[in-house]
């Protein structure tokens, strides 16, 4: 009976709206937990790929995970789409922070116009989601992730599971949209008894241990779906790549009519995107981060080159260096690696430079385009839909998380290793160690956790634990919010505070590393008899030498 009230075209449109609304909801939530500021451009001309008239990027992996969880279904009564946000410390403990629920109830609004009112209200709901994702406690935690903990997401479909949030969790409603087939509701349940685990407490290591033990319990429900870090990820080594949305992405070009609403012109076109597979470059251990940077300290001044790195999958034994540059025109797009080797390639258009360059980057581009279609000269462009034109913040926003630094001599890491820093995080500098060191060290490899985790997590554990040897220097010194006065330099998008935080935690000298020391000692012991024999042979020469000294 319900379907006869809704034309089949309307029904099809509605299903499509709900499907893409669910996908965009996941994108907004995950992107809000990446730990970085999001910026997309407005475009006065509709591009046709911006669902709900909002510029929301599609991270391919996230879309892939969402589609996997949905498995072709749509949210319905009793079948909700949930995005679980959790925190995982470098010691391997994890804790659920939030569950975002997209649900459907039976309350139908038969009168509402699908392709007009429902669409616009879904757009409004996404705006509300953008706003609300910044005001729950997990937002501030996620902005400071990287060193002591990371933020993970997991998408599941079915019954909402809130028990992992601890007692007294709170709920915030983002909004509802009535449709002829039910009312869509979007809400967030979030843990509050981390309230005393403010971000500053994560910066003091000793007290955290006690708090963590109270709150980290075994997951009552072993996850059926794997946890994922909230970050950009390059893809598999075998070249399998997440298609951008689908191999052919349906786009929504909706025209609205001001005279009888029934005259809605709704066209759907297909656009084909080509996603060049990211190239696996060298071995690299990188922690989970939204945006990663390679550091290269030049002698006089920090030079700024965009680099976007993803985290690889440890199941192939080494992570993928998703090296590339930020597309100067679209700062938050990822560009696939164009070169091999550990140092990210310098794009043909450096992100910094003359004022003219900077202005050029932020000038609106004419015409409509999909970002994916044309790779820039030296890099491949990963498909990201929703490119748009228009200004995107100040040039500083583009640059403020990009810099390169050379690794110093005697530093215990291979020259092509990368350290990550999110400039908003104190203690962001920590030294990733060699792969062999981590593998051999039983203290570092964590016990298996009950959930199926993405293979990424293995590298995550190693990162954190091995980083602790240098990280412990911070125990005595608590820096909460380091904003040195007058230290901001508008030209260099790196301020004194960042510099100070960076160099607070220098990597260990290789000669001080225990394992290398142990190795060489063993060698030394083995070679002792030989050396003694040689010295015995040359005893006369030594005696003669000693006599010349007297």
């Amino acid at each position: 009976a319900m379907d006869t009230d809704l034309s089949s075209q309307d029904r099809k449109d509605l299903d499509k709206f709900i499907k893409f609304f669910a996908l965009k909801t996941v994108q907004v939530i995950v992107q809000a937990r990446l730990g970085e500021k999001i910026c997309t451009r407005s475009s006065s001309s509709p591009t046709g790929s911006d669902w709900f008239n909002l510029a929301i990027k599609d991270i391919p992996e996230v879309t892939h995970e969402a589609k996997k969880a949905l498995a072709g279904q749509l949210p319905a009564v009793g079948r909700s789409m949930c995005v679980e946000i959790s925190l995982k410390t470098s010691e391997g403990d994890s804790m659920e922070l939030e569950i975002w629920c997209l649900e459907m109830n039976e309350k139908c609004d038969k009168e509402i116009k699908v392709s007009y009112t429902v669409y616009n209200r879904l757009s409004l709901l996404l705006k509300s989601l953008l706003a609300i994702t910044r005001v729950t406690p997990a937002y501030r935690l996620s902005r400071k992730q990287g060193h002591e903990y990371v933020i993970l997401y997991r998408i599941y479909f079915g019954e909402v599971q809130l028990s992992g949030l601890g007692e007294g969790f709170q709920t915030v409603r983002v909004g509802t949209v009535g449709t002829p087939v039910g009312t869509i509701t979007l809400s967030c349940a979030y843990r509050i008894n981390l309230a005393f685990m403010s971000t500053r407490q994560f910066e003091r290591t000793p007290p955290i241990m006690g708090i963590i033990i109270d709150h980290f319990v075994d997951r009552p429900y072993p996850s059926s779906s794997p946890m994922h870090p909230c970050n950009y990820r390059a893809g598999e080594d075998n070249g399998a790549v997440y298609p951008s949305v689908e191999d052919s992405q349906e786009v929504c070009t909706t025209s609205f009519s001001t005279s009888p609403p029934s005259q809605c012109v709704f066209t759907v076109t297909k656009a084909h995107f080509q996603t060049p597979p990211p190239v696996v470059t060298d071995t690299l251990k990188v922690p989970v981060m939204g945006l990663a940077f390679s550091h290269q300290l030049s002698s006089s001044r920090l030079s700024y080159q965009p680099a976007a790195l993803g985290v690889g999958s440890a199941d192939m034994g080494y992570p993928v260096l998703f090296a590339g540059g930020l597309n100067a025109a679209h700062p938050h797009q990822l560009i696939g690696p164009g070169k091999e080797g550990g140092i990210p390639p310098i794009p043909s258009q450096p992100a910094h430079g003359t004022q003219a360059d900077q202005e050029r980057m932020c000038t609106p581009l004419d015409g409509v385009h999909y970002s994916a279609a044309t790779p820039s000269s030296s890099e491949d462009t990963e498909t990201v839909s929703n490119s748009s034109e228009g200004k995107c913040g100040s040039p500083r926003d583009l640059l403020d998380t990009i810099f390169i630094r050379k690794v110093g001599a005697f530093v215990n890491k291979p020259i092509n290793q990368v350290t990550m820093a999110n400039l908003d995080i104190p203690f962001a500098m920590f030294a990733p160690k060699n792969v062999e060191l981590e593998d051999n060290d039983p203290m570092v490899n964590p016990p298996d956790s009950p959930e199926t985790e993405s293979p990424l997590q293995g590298s995550l554990h190693s990162e954190g634990s091995s980083g602790s040897s240098t990280g412990n220097t911070h125990d005595d010194f608590v820096m909460i919010d380091f904003k040195p006065a007058f230290s901001k330099d508008d030209i260099l998008p790196m301020d004194l505070g960042t510099f100070y935080r960076e160099f607070q935690n220098p990597p260990q000298l290789s000669s001080l590393s225990i394992d290398i020391g142990a190795q060489s000692m063993a060698e030394d012991l083995d070679s002792l008899p030989e050396k003694l024999a040689v010295h015995e042979k040359n005893v006369k020469e030594f005696d003669a030498f000693v006599e010349t000294l007297q």
Binding site: I38, C39, S45, L54, S128, R140, R143, F256, T258, G390
Partner: protein, 235 residues
Amino acid sequence: LLSPQDALSHPPGVTPAMNCRAEVLEVSVEGRQVEEAMLAVLHTVLLHRSTGKFHYKKEGTYSIGTVGTQDVDCDFIDFAYVRVSSEELDRALRKAVGEFKDALRNSGSDGMGQISLEFYQKKKSRWPFSDECIPWELWTIKVNVVNLANEQERQICREKVGEKLCEKIINIVEVMNRHEYLPKMPTQSEVDNVFDTSLKDVQPYLYKISYQITDSLGTSVTTTMRRLIKDTLAL
């Protein structure tokens, strides 16, 4: 949120019509936090009250441009918010908020005032009557400026105001979610009576920002009531 009855002093000349929704928010902030707190609230409201640019085509249909968004971190408050990616809109809001802040500062030690964001529709009248502006939604932010004694208090204030603003954002979203009256989507000839079409990348509903400085009794101390009018039609 206070009830509309508590909005005792809306700026003169802006009388909410019978069907004008009125929402009031109150914040207590330090002087240096005024601008960021106001921008956070105003931008959050305008995020929900702006669309992409309309492009009218034949047969009375139109397509809508894309609205981009970006995160803004506050320097003096532990808070971040999302705003529409439009430099023109940001400039307009900053100008209004800057004037409000200056007026607050110059008014004396009490430091109380309110800033209002009104959405209105224009109704064309025949000559000799001028066009009417009919408000349909009025947001009033009452501000109480506090003075703090030491750094420790300021640090606490940073966090507290941040938490308060989180609550305000949730309140704003609640109101938006009620899906109450919104102007009907206009035809091409009417679009300037509903939307501000002067910006090049986004299209907010027609709005006005005004403010008032009050003393602790709630009465208007100064008659400096400035209107920043966002009309697109000159006449």
